[in-house]
Subunit: 240 residues, 2 copies
């Protein structure tokens, strides 16, 4: 913040440069309004200082970062977020820009995966599924929590298991020490809230083609991205 | 180990199943021979127990895991590894199978990346390069160390910097607190030892096409995998 005012003044002094906006981004998956309010107040103070210095901005980009519910988080609603910001921005002439990402898409998608088999080792129970860290790396990369449920909602006992993929390393897990219904080989599980940082982070690790993407609208659906083939894995390689 | 003998006996009792081998894999990037020797001794003891029980195996797969030098590790040489194993296996009739991976390829590749710019923030120095976590995720995923050197080996001062990519998150780094020659914008750095778990873990995160792969043989080279295009990013999507 301390460097911004002199930098704007320097930019404004250049004949080829016209400062027209300011952007801030304070992080991601925030579950409280306080940091948004505080950072906005600081940005607006700077904008007012710039105005006083003769530099009138047209755009204020307050970034993204509003959190979603993966597990037991209680993020603000969009209405609460809007109310907090509009209170601070009322009467201003600048155009407001926001960069919502996760909050638009994360809860809108599930990753469907089949249970390959169950195994027990040294007192631990494992549910081995056909989706791996190449399909969803957030648990392995960030220790992220994704709710995982069987798509068949029949009544049954619960058990505690690690839900792991078929890739040959310990990072290949979707959940650890998770309580879930006693699932069976062959049934389909839904890994929830995978619409952000899911497919976009997918790789072909272990020579695994990436999954198909399917858009569902009530009772109808469209395959919007084809399942990759083995041919796709070697596309671009010399001689293939 | 305790479950293996009865499981082999159960398998041998089935008319449709013939147990022909045993596999073990004790981990990856091991820099001492001791675990290999100990696990091989345990496997051979089991093989001998199986032979005594009338189950004669044809194959012994001792897996992989031999480490390489990324930084200051002193892994055993292949000759030392071979000597240790052949001492244990001398006179045996089974076929030995090994699964070397990293040791064959890791040191054989570098990731080349251009310095986009240098920046300083709150007393920290950053070298921003055009390779990101989508190109090499080992530092972000495992905290892995990769040596990074400028390809121009001119004499110059050293400095301490984080070497980071252009992707919009804090996981996007190749090295932290690294002492390296005072590099300049526009020059090329080599991220070393990226031949294993490098390109194979690459993704299209942040809509970044994957890099070309180039095979170098002394003074000649071949592009063995084409650089991906933006068209590749949307291949398979409906309407493209």
């Amino acid at each position: 913040m301390d460097e911004a005012l002199p930098l704007y003044q320097q930019a404004a002094s250049l004949s080829q440069v016209e400062p027209v906006g300011i952007s801030c981004h304070i992080g991601s998956q925030l579950t409280s309004l306080k940091p948004f309010v505080e950072s906005t107040q600081r940005v607006l103070k700077l904008v007012d200082q710039l105005t006083a210095a003769g530099i009138r901005l047209q755009y204020i980009d307050l970034g993204g970062g509003l959190g979603i519910r993966y597990n037991d988080e209680s993020p603000p609603t969009v209405a609460e977020y809007a109310a907090a910001l509009s209170g601070l921005l009322a009467g201003r002439s600048e155009t407001l820009i926001l960069e919502p990402g996760r909050i638009l898409s994360a809860n809108a998608a599930v990753l469907l995966t089949e249970v390959l088999y169950l195994k027990q080792s040294q007192g631990r129970q494992f549910v081995v599924v056909d989706a791996g860290m190449n399909d969803l790396i957030r648990p392995g990369l960030y220790g992220a929590y994704h709710d995982i449920v069987p798509v068949e909602t029949i009544e049954r006992e619960a058990f505690v298991a690690d839900i792991v993929g078929p890739v040959c390393e310990t990072t290949d897990y979707l959940a650890r020490d998770r309580t879930l219904p006693q699932v069976q080989r062959g049934e389909i599980l839904a890994v929830k809230d995978t619409g952000a940082y899911g497919f976009t982070l997918a790789s072909n690790y272990n020579s695994r083609p990436r999954a198909a993407e399917v858009l569902v609208d009530s009772q109808s659906y469209q395959i919007v991205r084809k399942r990759e083939s083995y041919e796709d894995l070697v596309r671009g390689e010399k001689g293939f």
